[in-house]
Amino acid sequence: MNEKFSLSIVVTNQPGVLTRISSLFSQRDFNIDTFTSGKTEDEDYARITITASGDMRKKEQMIKQISKLYDVKKVEVMQPENTILRELLIVKVSASGEKLREILDAASVFRSKVVDMSPGSVCVEITGETSKIDAFLNYIKDYGILEYCRTGLIAVQRGKTCLYKNIKTA
């Protein structure tokens, strides 16, 4: 049975690391839903969050195969009940007059932020879990979405535990 899950991966901050990981996914026919990467508090390491889907076997293979890569220091499946998951969406909607009012109301209900307005269009920024973003997009789709862009998920464990504390000394 297929399930969706998110992986956090700590890698050395080297050029080509993202290529290696994405290449592995295509090589082994793993499905990526989202892929985000960025610097961390330690300049030697970058942190990647991947959301993917697959059955138990695929999931296990994914983790083991990623773990074998030279640049990969740690791979962990993020447990949803214990993880802060966030995605950022910027959506540009065509709107004016009464419609604009409704969009602004919706934006406030979803606790999003209006980041740009121009005659005939408005840009809204919203962060949250995927389901919240999907719900917002679903609500405003009839107003006429001009374009949108979303980042994919990032994930951090709740509490004091850190994913890769002491990797250097380990």
Partner: protein, 552 residues
């Protein structure tokens, strides 16, 4: 010591115990070749006819010696030419360090002459690849390459060194041989569980793969087999894990495996699988593979657990230590019922031996086997001849069977035989087919130049036999593009290359040719003409089991 990048390459190669490198010069490795010209360590460079040959030679060198093989190629086509060799080594977990030159850093990305993305090309077919952007990291990176290539589950590593890095200078600090990253030792509790299962079973089989050879763990196999009354079955890569003439060595199982081996696996109640990865060629229908057995799977690579077969007991860890622990702790026992059963399967072994006056493939292999010593390296190419060698050759020593298992690279053999011969300084026989030999016979020139005692036995059926066999059985005999019938005169060809050449149409002629070939210390080609329509049998059709085995 203030040294150039190229001088550092030589120093690191020497400190890592490299005595031979295989390569081909070119524009972006000229400086490396200049350093080879001057190198004070006497590192021998073997010039091959083609970079692909150099990569296979490094692979053959490694398989025979257990050391890391090294090849050198220039940028662009040099890199693309070694890709097949790296992929071959990757598929069989063979440690190689490939050093490639690249255009200077300031030209990278400008589509300059002979520029390709070596790293991008190598990602899926190497264990890792490094682009050395600065002279400061060169020595460290090369050492990392050796360490990563040979640690854990071994594999090929590519180090791409741009021209400007090769010629700039830095302070070099000598170091010794880099230590392997320590293996994880298997969990004692799991090993005890394995011992318990082995002690409790009545029909044990030990199933060995290439990992047993790679990890130098062969010494434990026969004692375990004898102590617990097991039989040993092998993937092609694991064939030399035990003396093939031992009565409990059942040979290779799988698509072209022997009947007794495949049947015994099916009937076993316990399979101790070590260093195998259960590919579809080895297992056939996975649901029916060892269907009556509890499977214990020991491998250094945890990703092999559950990849193809979900074993009942999965143990990750160093194979030698695991096997030595198991050997020490299992009970002595005999399984006379099991012995009777398996002996019965052996009696039914179908060798498909037609009685004929013609020279047959098994005659050729057995004749060579008789004339060879236990230490003779046996290299093969890929195809029917490769399967016949796996079925009929009685290997005595580990690392004497040099063959491309996972990738199945036709054209592998000639380069590999050169590497194998140079690593061991021992006589090497290459069994090849007219198809495979045709792919990379250029390396015969290398063997001649290096005056190597290599005997090339071409099993010539004038066909691309293995593909023809499939066309015959699964494509209604539509022999599309498999009838070679080339006019190549292999005797003259051998002579043209500066080797000796003979043709054998009978066992007697083959014996005479072999006597000559084994008497001289230079390359010799013996063409053995066999009928065109011999199939490799038995055969388990794709996704089949022993129940679907084809014998005729």
């Amino acid at each position: 010591m203030l040294l150039t990048g190229c001088e550092i390459i030589m120093e690191v190669l020497a400190e890592q115990g490299v005595d031979t490198v295989f390569g081909y010069p070119g524009g972006q490795v000229l400086s490396i070749y200049d350093a080879l010209y001057k190198n004070r360590h006497g590192i021998k460079h073997v010039l091959t006819a083609h970079e692909q040959g150099a990569s296979h030679a490094a692979d053959g060198y490694s398989r025979s010696s257990g050391k890391v093989g090294v090849c050198i190629a220039t940028s662009g086509p040099g890199v693309t030419n070694i890709i097949t060799g790296l992929a071959t080594a990757h598929a069989d977990s063979i440690p190689i360090v490939a050093i490639t030159g690249n255009v200077p850093m300031e030209l990278i990305g400008t589509d300059s002459f002979q520029e390709v993305d070596a790293i991008g090309l190598s990602i899926p077919i190497t264990k890792h690849s490094f682009l050395v952007k600065s002279i400061d990291t060169l020595a460290f990176t090369l050492r990392e390459a050796f360490k990563f290539a040979k640690s854990g589950r071994p594999g090929p590593v590519l180090v791409d060194i741009p021209k400007n890095v090769q010629v700039s200078k830095t302070e070099y600090e000598p170091m010794g041989l880099v230590e392997n990253i320590p293996d994880i030792n298997a969990d004692k509790q799991l090993l005890d569980e394995a011992v318990k299962l082995i002690n409790a079973c009545k029909k044990p089989v030990i199933y060995c793969g290439g990992g047993v050879i790679n990890s130098n763990s062969t010494e434990y196999i026969q004692p375990i087999v004898e102590k617990c009354g097991a039989y040993a079955v092998f993937s092609m890569m694991g064939l030399t894990a035990m003396d093939c003439e031992h009565k409990r060595h059942l040979g290779m199982s799988g698509m072209h495996g022997l009947y007794a081996a495949t049947k015994t696996l099916t009937k076993a109640d316990l399979v101790l699988a070590v260093g195998v990865r259960f590919t579809e060629r080895a297992t056939g229908n996975k649901a029916k593979f060892a269907e009556n057995a509890k499977i214990i799977h020991i491998d250094i690579d945890p990703a092999e657990h559950g990849k193809n077969i979900d074993a009942d007991l999965k143990i990750q860890g160093n194979l030698s230590n695991s096997l030595s622990y198991i050997l020490e702790n299992i009970n002595n026992k005999k399984n006379s019922e099991w012995d009777k059963e398996v002996e019965n399967y052996k009696q039914h072994e179908n060798k498909n031996r037609k009685v004929t006056a013609l020279l047959m493939p098994w005659d050729i292999i057995e004749t060579v086997n008789k004339k060879a010593t236990p230490y003779t390296n046996i290299a093969t190419d890929v195809g029917q001849h490769q399967m016949w060698v796996a079925q009929y050759y009685k290997f005595k020593m580990p690392r004497t069977h040099i063959t491309s298992g996972g990738l199945g690279t036709m054209g592998y053999g000639m380069g590999a035989a050169i590497g194998s011969c140079m690593a061991t300084k021992r006589r090497t026989v290459l069994f090849t087919g007219d198809g495979s030999f045709g792919m990379n016979l250029n390396e015969l020139a290398t063997a001649v130049s290096e005056k190597l005692p290599i005997t090339v036995v071409i099993i010539n059926n004038k066909r691309l036999g293995m593909i023809r066999q499939w066309q015959s059985r699964f494509f209604d005999g539509h022999f599309m593009a498999t009838v070679l019938d080339r006019k190549t005169d292999f005797v003259k060809l051998a002579e043209a290359f500066g080797a000796e050449g003979y043709r054998a149409n009978s066992i007697k002629e083959l014996e005479q040719a072999l006597d000559r070939a084994f008497d001289i210390n230079t390359p010799c080609v013996i063409e053995c003409v066999i009928p065109s329509d011999e199939d490799v049998l038995p055969m388990v059709p794709p996704n089949g089991s022993v129940d679907n085995m084809i014998f005729k």
